[in-house]
Amino acid sequence: MNPSPAEGLPPCAWRCSRAISRLLSQTNVSSRERLRTALDHREPDRIPLDFGSTAVTGIHVSCVAALRHYYGLAPEPVKVHEPYQMLGLVEDDLRAAMGLDVTGVFSRKTMFGFPADNWKEWDFRGLDVLVPSDFRIRTEPNGDILIYPEGDETAAPSGRMPMGSAFFDTIIRQPEIDDEKLDPADNLEDFGPVAEEDLAHLERAARAAGGSGYGVAATFGGTAFGDIALVPAPFLKDPKGIRDVTEWYMSTRTRRPYIHSIFERQCEIGIQNLARIHARIGDKVDCVFLCGTDFGTQTSAFCSVGTFRELWFPYYKRVNDWVHANTAWKCFKHSCGSVERFFDSFIEAGFDIINPVQCSAAGMEPAALKRKYGSRLVFWGGGADTQKTLPFGTPREVREEVLRRCEILAPGGGFVFNSIHNLQAGTPVENIVAMLDAVHQFNGVAHA
């Protein structure tokens, strides 16, 4: 968990990254313009970079700490702003050092249902970090860490981080299911009108982000429709309805009217909330991470295109149509895995952006994706592999992969550089820096 010492890096790498940081500060194009140009499928002066603007384009806290150390930034403990995946907050000084172009507006509450504020110190298995004051945990005799929903230690814990892991996983709390008594309202406890304190938080955050000069990606929640990470509701003290992951997947086949009832109501609430949020923040944000429901596996999909169009498509289209009719926001869709088969439907449903572009999955060859969809879908990700190259490769292998991806995905715009999903714990800082330096080098060659 300790950051890798910068002293261990070749001096040329150390100097190169700093030289790039200085160079990046000398530009006439704002990061926000750069992002907007890319999102409009026009080629910007250079590829915009994102790390940390959403919970699917983020950085594990241990890697944030390592990067801060590498760049010689103030050695302060990193804030774990999303404890579920143990994502570290990318502060402005690190954003500048890494040469990033996008900042984030996040929901007030974390995945465990407590606000990300009132920071306190925590020793995360040897790494000093900051966590929200309602981050309440219990360490088991075997070293596993249990976390409580809404910080309520009288409730059953809703997450577990085993020894040997660096992330929480949801503890399934599935009440006995009686099909005769199943009520869609039980699965709708998660979705209600956005509270005034949440609106006020979003307004403050959007104002700060909108005035920063960076491009802005926002996350409001409530419009994913069956995101399997959210189904078990780790943020609720006493979830009801269908909360078991396996049961939910089976229900998409066997209880389709029930799922439709949930989605129908969720869609109504979601659009009402988006309207209230937009009334407060306007177009201070450039894109909205609306949906993280995964439709792909490493080698296949979670459902057929036909099922997608019957069960999900109508709700996505309604949400995206509302966004396009009433805001200047771009619609951001995340789905891991082998999902090329869904791209035409994603586009037809109104999604503008796809993430993480998992090129390592079956049928996700980047050149073919760019050729077929590059003018209609923004690729936000796909820049470097987080399953193999970044955690286990050499800096040279990382660099070669990044340069290849940039050559393929950058022409004509429609590309925001990000790795394929969050930078995972255990990724050598040398590899992260090699990735960033390669993008900056590409940008310098192509656009300087």
């Binding site: 085993p162 040997g164 459902c303 099922t307 987080t386 193999k388 955690p391």
Partner: protein, 211 residues
């Protein structure tokens, strides 16, 4: 005599209630447990695997079929044990230490069981010593390790190394799988095989026990 063709149909369609009812009726009518497994359940799960491979079936359908097959196996298994019938092979399976992801592992376990293997499922977050103890006490000839996270993939190597240290490596064949795992990684850590999918894992397991 019940209409036994309804058993594979129920497994393929994922109807666990019918699968259990037909199995009960078949046992009551004197059909041997071994015949239920080899003539009905194994071909049914082979068909489920085929449909998955050609993308006629996806994860939800696989889960439903696995549940139906298990409903039948729960009736048949104790009777099978009593007859002393030998399975195709004995597999100890689990998600490695530090990793709580088990859907992929569960699908592989179900497909192996549906393929005629005796499956000893240790669950998720399984320490190397538990794999070793289970393999030794249950006389397993196969060990199947799953991981979803890059941070827990090294636990696969730790587990294989622990079999070496315990002097049991030559007694079992070890197969690995999971989203970030590759053939190259399997070879690098000394595994005997890599299964890219649940159906590939069954084919691999059959090959390994036949070798």
């Amino acid at each position: 005599m019940p209409d036994l063709d309804k058993l594979p149909e129920a497994v393929i369609e994922g109807d666990w209630k019918v699968a259990a009812a037909v199995t009960q009726a078949a046992i009551a009518a004197g059909v041997t447990p071994l015949a239920i497994v080899t003539k009905y359940l194994v071909p049914a799960m082979d068909e489920v695997g085929r449909r998955f491979e050609c993308e006629e079936y996806f994860v939800p359908e696989m889960l439903l079929s696995a549940r139906a097959m298990k409903a039948s196996m729960e009736i048949v298994r104790p009777l099978l044990v009593a007859t002393g019938a030998e399975p195709v092979g004995r597999v100890v399976i689990g998600t490695v230490k530090g990793d709580l992801h088990d859907i992929g592992k569960n699908l592989v376990a179900s497909m192996l069981e549906g393929g005629g293997f005796e499956v000893i499922d240790l669950g998720a977050d399984v320490a190397p010593q538990r794999f070793i103890e289970a393999a030794a006490t249950r006389h397993a000839n196969l060990v199947a390790l799953s991981a979803l996270l890059t941070v827990t993939m090294p636990s696969m190597k730790t587990t294989i190394d622990a079999f070496e240290t315990a002097g049991l490596r030559e007694k079992v064949r070890i197969m690995v799988g999971g989203a970030p795992v590759t053939q190259q990684y399997a070879e690098a850590i000394g595994a005997d095989g890599f299964g890219e999918s649940a159906t590939a894992a069954v084919a691999l397991a059959r090959k390994l026990v036949a070798a």
